[in-house]
Amino acid sequence: MNEILAPRRLSDVIDLLEREPSIRAIGGGTTVVPDMRAGRLRAGRWLSTGSIDGLDAIRLDRNGMLRIGAAATFANIAKDGLVVLAAGLLVEALRAIASPALRNVATIGGSIAVAASSPDPATALVALGARVELVAPGRRRASGVDERGEARLIVHPIEAVTAPETPPPRLVTAVLIPTSADWAYERATVRGANDRPIVTVAVARDPTTRRRRIALGGLVGGVILLSDAEVPEGVGDDLDDVLRAVPVVDDDRATPNYRRRMAAVLIRRAIARLGRAALD
């Protein structure tokens, strides 16, 4: 039997996490419900993020970072003018995911917390250098997404691809995104629309350093972040030198070779788009 708790205040959430470390959070339910139906998750007590006051807010914070509340849905984020202006890359990635019905309920916090099956949001966030805000018993902190395993968002360097350790009780409350107007996004799918991507590539240029951050999704369980230095000039037919050590996913949708090849193709295209955008 499932029991869903719907706290209104964040302080109640922290209390709840302290009292009940095993409680699990549920956002839009787009991962939890199928997993439960398939028997991968058991019934139990759930902490609903949808009821928490202000957790779906989207605003600029004091540092000029875009702050998107964890309970904001993909659809609401993608149509928010502030996000469109400050993080168009995320908008493009979110609009590519699944169907409107799913985007209407799936939340950004949920997609981060469960490392959702679609790598689109994470790829975009990593390229943008986003940070994740968490609450946990006794603390509230922002984590750099570059930290190994943190919120399953990032893996770098490539050799360090591992599954994150069992997370402590915590709740993703927001993502903090540096604004970026210089970006490109590419994804490869089997079906033309409404399909989980085989590979995702997001490239964003840091407005201060002018360095590119190149994020690759779909090759491994998490997202791979490549630096400018790791992407050879005029990327060739494959990224063998860079990706050789990575155990690339092999499933019914694509072989590892095809994935590696698509990574190279999409990186090349994304970089070319980025270059064109700069010229524009």
Binding site: A188, R261, V265
Partner: protein
């Protein structure tokens, strides 16, 4: 469509919505192995599970004396529940009945089948090999059915042909993916009467089959069919009805079972097939001979597989003049989930092969593929390569209609895509075309009853099933035409075998044609009855004529609506029935009966935009032409044609029910891809061609088989590559491109 709004808003009442007092929910325990002997089924833990009322197993079937009973469309080989062995992954072993679905599923998880796993036959060639184990004892060489045909002297033709071509093409299993899954509700009002609600496409025959299986008299089974949420052949004939009906009898309470999506992938599939074709032409590309060998995977039970060899074999060599032809088509048992009807029955697999080879011949000989087809297509009086006389062939017209928009007529260049200025440099475009022929089931019977009521309405009683294809709309229009009343005064009753008369099946693109004839006949009889009534009026009509919804008699000046007429003579309802059987014609030359009453005809032309770096194929422009004879419902005809194209795109590009050790690797729509809205071509134009004789022809599947070969031919035109295996996934396209480039590289070096 009449009920489109209700369907979209979810207001349409389905089988799964049926609730009966005391109804139990069923969950099935399915085999986890493709082949094995059942040692026992431990139900103790399940029976102790909260809410579980009963667990029905093969032992109950045996205890009821039904262990020898098997069902199937023509070949009966499927037990109500697995008895002593399982033959495919997903085969029902036990039915857990509980007050709530969740309780039933929890109970099902606690049932422990003890199975001695035996080697499984998972390959068609292995199944056909000498000495192979038999999936069903008594079925030699695992052959479910075979059809062979030959005409002319093949060996002599081989010697005289100027050019020879040969190839082998494959297509995988697939699933129809109806939005509504299979569902059955069964209950027994008395021990000898069974009432069901089911998602079947063939209520009349399923009710008869249930009566036979369960030892009931013909009128003791009442089967209702609420409107279906899609069927596409997958709900043809009995599937879960025997099992649910039996479970209800054992429990003594109504039982409902609704397939989960993952259950659909093991309930029924499309036949995977391997097709080999050898052809020879003269110097101008005219066929001298063609031979084909087809092997299709029927899975563990025959279901409707027995019709596949003739359906595939009759169509594999295309609508062409072929002086010497031979076909050997066989469908085999394996330990895969059973295969059955799938929209485009048995033809999609062979058109994929045949129509690509026709294109290869054209390219090889430097002839426009459209022109090559015109050179070979049958004309009136010609004989098809399956032996049938070509009656009313319209393939030339379909071919020209499909390509004519591009060429600005029948002679211009249709093959060169226009330049798309916004195409990135890695996109190549190409165009291809294919024609197809598909038989309709014949002979088959449709009975209808037309009733006129004193309120001035016409009621059509038919067992034709509305499944989203617009059957009710077409039937209303046909009744309007026959009786001369407004269409909104025509009611069509949902199938209910206690009320609606026999109809063989709602499939095979036959419903509009069959009802056209049957309703016309019934309407003639009904008009005569109404005219007879007019003679019973206080001032008897002398020579009454019923037309346009009224009865008129010039001699007496009578001019009365039929409703008023019936009220005047004190009658509330007058009914008339009629039957129509589409007999295949007898060949006057050979005396043989034809394969079908009507070869459905179509052509599809496709433009693709191919990403040469990723291998992604985007179908950007599709033009389809189907022979309709006469269009009864223009909107529904257009939707059928467009639906054909979109449905055909799935197996062309994405759909692959890959089976690993007998297990479907896709169990949800996340992994099993059907076309999404975003995959639709930017341009999709179809036309239903009409003739002058006013006779409708079936068009429900006329375009589907042409889609895959047309896409394949367009791909070849774009990149010079030929794929032999469906679907044409990006990775396969890229591999073919690599192979071609590698080959070209080798050629250059040599």
């Amino acid at each position: 469509m009449i009920d489109a709004r209700d369907r979209v808003l979810g207001r349409t009442s389905r089988t799964a919505d049926v609730r009966l007092p005391g109804m139990l929910e069923a969950a099935l325990v399915r085999s986890a192995v493709p082949s094995g002997r059942i040692i026992g089924v431990d139900t103790d833990a399940a029976l102790r599970s909260p809410g579980v009322v009963a667990v029905v197993t093969g032992n109950d079937v045996a205890a009821a004396g039904l262990e020898e009973i098997e069902f199937g469309t023509i070949i009966q080989d499927q037990p109500i529940l697995a008895l002593d062995r399982v033959r495919h992954v997903g085969e029902p072993i036990a039915v857990v009945l509980a007050e709530r679905r969740a309780d039933a599923e929890r109970g099902a998880a606690l049932v422990v089948p003890h199975i001695d796993v035996t080697p499984a036959l998972l390959d068609m060639a292995d199944a056909l090999a000498d000495g192979a184990a038999l999936v069903h004892p008594g079925r030699p060489h695992n052959v479910i059915a075979r059809w062979a045909f030959s005409q002319g002297a093949i060996d002599a033709a081989r010697r005289t042909a100027a050019h020879h071509f040969a190839g082998r093409w494959t297509s995988p299993a697939a699933q129809v993916v109806s939005l509504e899954t299979h569902a059955v509700v069964a209950h027994w009002p008395t021990p000898d009467r069974l009432e069901l609600w089911s998602t079947t496409q063939s209520p009349s025959r399923t009710a008869i089959e249930l009566g036979r299986i369960l030892g009931l008299t013909a009128d003791a089974v009442r089967l209702h069919v609420p409107p279906l949420g899609g069927a596409f052949g997958g709900k043809n004939h009995a599937k879960l009805e025997p099992l649910v009906a039996f479970a209800s009898r054992v429990a003594g309470r109504p039982v409902r079972h609704v397939n989960r999506r993952e259950d659909e992938f093991v309930t029924i599939t499309k036949h995977a097939a391997s097709v080999e074709i050898e052809s020879g032409t003269d110097a101008e590309g005219r066929f001298v001979y063609r031979t084909a060998r087809i092997v299709a995977d029927g899975g563990a039970y025959a279901n409707s597989s027995s019709v596949i060899p003739k359906a595939s074999g009759g169509a594999v060599l295309g609508p062409y003049r072929v002086p010497a032809a031979s076909v050997d088509a066989v469908v085999v048992y394996t330990n895969h989930p059973p295969a059955g009807s799938f929209r485009g029955l048995g033809v999609s697999q062979v058109a994929w092969a045949s129509e690509q080879q026709v294109d290869e011949i054209a390219v090889e000989l430097g002839i426009d593929p459209r022109e090559l087809r015109h050179r070979n297509l049958v004309r009136d009086g010609d004989r098809l390569p399956n032996g049938d006389l070509a009656a009313h062939p319209h393939w030339d017209a379909c071919l020209d209609a499909a390509t004519g928009g591009w060429s600005g007529g029948v002679d211009g260049d249709w093959r060169t895509p226009r330049i798309h200025a916004d195409d990135p440099p890695w996109v190549r475009r190409g165009r291809g075309v294919a024609v197809t022929m598909k038989a309709t089931m014949a002979p088959s019977r449709t009975d209808v009853e037309l009733a006129a009521t004193s309120s001035g309405r016409i009621i059509v009683r038919t067992s034709a099933v509305e499944m989203g294809q617009g059957a009710r709309s077409a039937i209303r229009i046909l009744a309007r035409e026959a009786m001369g009343v407004d269409v909104d005064r025509v009611d069509v009753v949902d199938p209910d075998t206690a009320v609606t008369p026999f109809d063989a099946t709602t499939s095979s693109s036959r419903t509009t044609v069959q009802h056209h004839h049957a309703i016309e006949r019934a309407a003639r009889a009904l008009r005569e009855r109404l005219e007879t009534l007019a003679r019973d009026l206080p001032t008897p009509a002398v020579d009454p004529v019923c037309a346009e919804g009224r009865v008129r008699d010039p001699a007496t000046g009578l001019d009365i609506g039929f409703g008023d007429l019936m009220a005047a003579v004190g009658t509330t309802q007058v009914a008339a029935s009629a039957s129509y059987v589409n007999e295949p014609p007898r060949d006057p030359e050979t005396g043989l009966t034809g394969l079908t009453s009507d070869w459905h005809q179509g052509a599809v032309a496709v433009e693709v935009a191919v990403d040469v770096e990723t291998g992604c194929v985007r179908v950007s422009d599709v033009r389809g032409a189907a022979w309709a004879g006469r269009v009864v419902d223009p909107v529904a005809a257009r939707l059928q044609n467009e639906g054909n194209v979109v449905f055909g795109m799935g197996p062309s590009l994405f759909e692959d029910l890959a089976l690993a050790d007998g297990h479907p690797r896709s169990t949800s729509l996340r992994d099993y891809r059907i076309p999404a809205i975003g995959d639709l071509p930017e341009r999709l134009v179809t036309v239903a061609l009409e003739g002058e004789d006013g006779e409708p022809a079936g068009l429900g599947e006329s375009l589907i088989p042409a889609v895959a070969p047309a896409v394949g031919n367009a791909l070849a035109a774009a990149l010079g590559i030929r794929l032999r295996d469906l679907p044409m996934t990006p990775e396969r396209v890229l591999q073919a491109l690599d192979d071609r480039i590698g080959r070209a590289g080798r050629d250059e070096r040599s």
